[in-house]
């Protein structure tokens, strides 16, 4: 299976520099070749009814954190908001 490294990188929002590209492509190809040898299994992935999830009760908790605490790690903050390059709307 040949993989389109540039397309995958675009989906993953990664950029592979030109001088790295060949090496990266070869490594990726080797990895994909390794994982490709899986046998066909003619079954469907059924949902596991025996391992059900416990749901959370609908209760709101306020004032657990301050905005300042939660935004302390943000690279750029303005007027209580996170800042990003202008998005086209």
């Amino acid at each position: 299976m040949n993989i389109d490294i540039r397309h995958i990188a675009k989906l993953a929002r990664l950029r592979i520099e030109d001088d790295q590209f060949e090496k990266f492509e070869k490594e990726m190809q080797n990895i994909v070749d390794m994982v490709e040898n899986l046998p066909d299994i003619d079954e469907e992935l059924a949902l596991d009814e025996n391992d059900p999830m416990t749901l959370r009760e609908d209760c709101a908790v306020t004032d657990k954190y301050t905005r300042q605490e939660l935004m302390a790690n943000a690279p750029q903050v303005k007027a209580g908001c996170l800042v990003v390059p202008k998005t086209v709307e």
């Binding site: 949902l47 959370r56 905005r67 939660l70 996170l82 390059p85």
Partner: protein, 478 residues
């Protein structure tokens, strides 16, 4: 049909559920609070934070599923929809892909008096994204407010069963009234609590379906109508000019009244859906599914059809009553007495009552009106005991106070004189005193009749039954 083309419309409607907390964390689910004040590590997508599913969200979605006659998948899962955008903190939205909570339903709607059945493909649960704020003052930047992240949504996907923008509007209005009846969505359009994406295509009758375009950013029902009409015309124009409609996603600009292309099929996003590994299988007990079904009241669209078919109300009257659960309950209470025609009640409910509610800002339950006193009032008028005008006086009292209706007739002196001998005596007196009018009438001036009846009413101090009075005068005039 528009200009010889058949129009095919499908809608994807998102409704925000009015739960106490968000779908995957215990942050408050509330609109309009200070930016980034209703967030926590979970809805901010902090490293290591994990989602936990709110049980109310599952319940509400199942209720909507029942309301739209869906099959409920009591065993289902959640999936991740992966894409990058600043309003999506985890860079994936937790949604449902393969197995939605509800599927294969339908909803009956009424369009111009015609009943239509619209298929519902699926209803699934998912989380809302945050909001981006734009301004020229932001120096080429956008600001991100994450308060809305994790607000619970249900996405209701219709079959491509609608054939006009009017049908789409009726469908959306029906969904809205059902959501309101179930009490699971605030339905505040201006706050974006219901939003929809519209899929539109056109084709010549007998030909295969046309290529569809998807339109995003439709934020009101009237915008949906405008957007659909615009898109239909745009596609027809392309086809008429020998062109081909592209499969693409377009963005509706309601201010400019036009849609613009967002992306074509070629750069369609690859969302790389896969099962959400942080959450296990959702398993809802059979009993729970049934219990939720039993909680569903008769829905407004069903009521509407019943009012039109069984009670003979007009679509407008029926819609008005059916859309308000409280009003409908009052109306149904009255009809259950089986005494008087629906129209007689509808006249009061859609007239003086609505005016009163609008003027005072009260709700139905804030008033003292109930099926008993309203039926009594309608009965008095139907039997001719009091006049319509007298009825209005009583209505004004019983809407605010629990007073005995019969006693009010006496207290306000509203009893009509319906005794024919008494009325005849008045008629004789009035005719004798107005010889000129009598001769005018006989010479063909028919409006003299009104004057004579008016004089009789005056002589009776307004208590004469006007219908009977008129009959007697006519008889006496020959």
């Amino acid at each position: 049909m528009v200009k010889g083309y058949e129009v095919v419309i499908g809608l994807e409607t998102h409704a925000e559920l009015n739960t106490e907390s968000k779908i995957y964390c215990d942050c408050k689910n509330q609109f309009g609070l200070e930016v980034n004040s209703q967030v926590c590590p979970v809805c901010m997508g902090m490293p290591g934070a994990l989602p936990t599913l709110n049980e109310k969200v599952v319940d509400y979605a199942i209720k909507m599923g029942h309301a739209l006659n869906c099959k409920i998948n009591r065993v289902c899962k959640q999936d991740r929809k992966n894409y990058f955008y600043p309003d999506l903190p985890k860079a994936y939205q937790i949604s449902q892909a393969e197995v939605p909570l509800c599927e294969n339903g339908y909803v009956d709607i009424l369009v111009d008096g015609e009943e239509r059945r619209i298929g519902v493909t699926r209803i699934h649960i998912e989380e809302d994204a945050g909001k981006l704020l734009h301004s020229d003052k932001f120096d080429g930047c956008s600001l991100v407010d994450l308060n809305r992240c994790g607000v619970p949504l249900i996405e209701i996907v219709s079959e491509p069963d609608m054939r006009s923008s009017a049908e789409a509007k009726a469908y959306l209005e029906t969904l809205k009234s059902i959501l309101q009846y179930l009490g699971i969505c605030d339905c505040k359009m201006e706050q974006g609590s219901i939003r929809c994406d519209v899929n539109v295509s056109v084709h010549k009758p007998g030909e295969p379906l046309g290529t569809r375009s998807e339109m995003k950013n439709v934020n009101s029902f009237s915008a949906a109508v405008r957007g659909i009409d615009y898109e239909v015309n745009r596609q027809i124009e392309i086809l008429e000019n020998g062109g081909r409609v592209e499969q693409e996603t377009r963005r509706w600009d309601d201010v400019k009244g036009e849609s613009v292309s967002m992306r074509s099929k070629e750069d369609a996003q690859d969302y790389r859906y896969f099962p959400e590994p942080d959450l296990l299988t959702i398993v809802v007990d059979e009993e729970r599914v049934n219990a939720l079904k039993n909680e569903i009241p008769e829905l407004p669209n069903t009521k509407l059809l019943r009012y039109v078919r069984k009670f003979g109300l007009s679509q407008k009257e029926a819609t008005f009553i059916a859309e308000s659960a409280e009003l409908a309950a009052l109306f149904d209470g009255c009809m259950a007495k089986g005494k008087y025609p629906a129209k007689a009640y509808a006249t009061w409910l859609l007239g003086d009552f609505i005016k009163y509610l609008n003027d005072t800002g009260k709700s139905v339950s804030d008033t003292c009106l109930d099926a008993d006193n309203l039926t009594e009032l309608v009965g008095l008028i139907e039997k001719g005991t009091i006049s319509n005008a007298g009825g209005k006086k009583i209505f004004a009292v019983i809407i605010e106070k629990k007073e005995d209706v019969a006693a009010l007739v006496d207290k306000l002196g509203l009893a009509q004189v319906s005794d024919s001998s008494a009325l005849e005596a008045i008629a004789d007196e009035v005719l004798a005193a107005n010889e000129k009018s009598v001769s005018d009438y006989k010479n063909g001036k028919t409006n003299a009749l009104g004057y004579l009846v008016g004089q009789c009413m005056k002589a009776s101090k307004g208590k004469a039954n006007p219908g009977m009075m008129k009959e007697i005068i006519l008889k006496k005039l020959g």
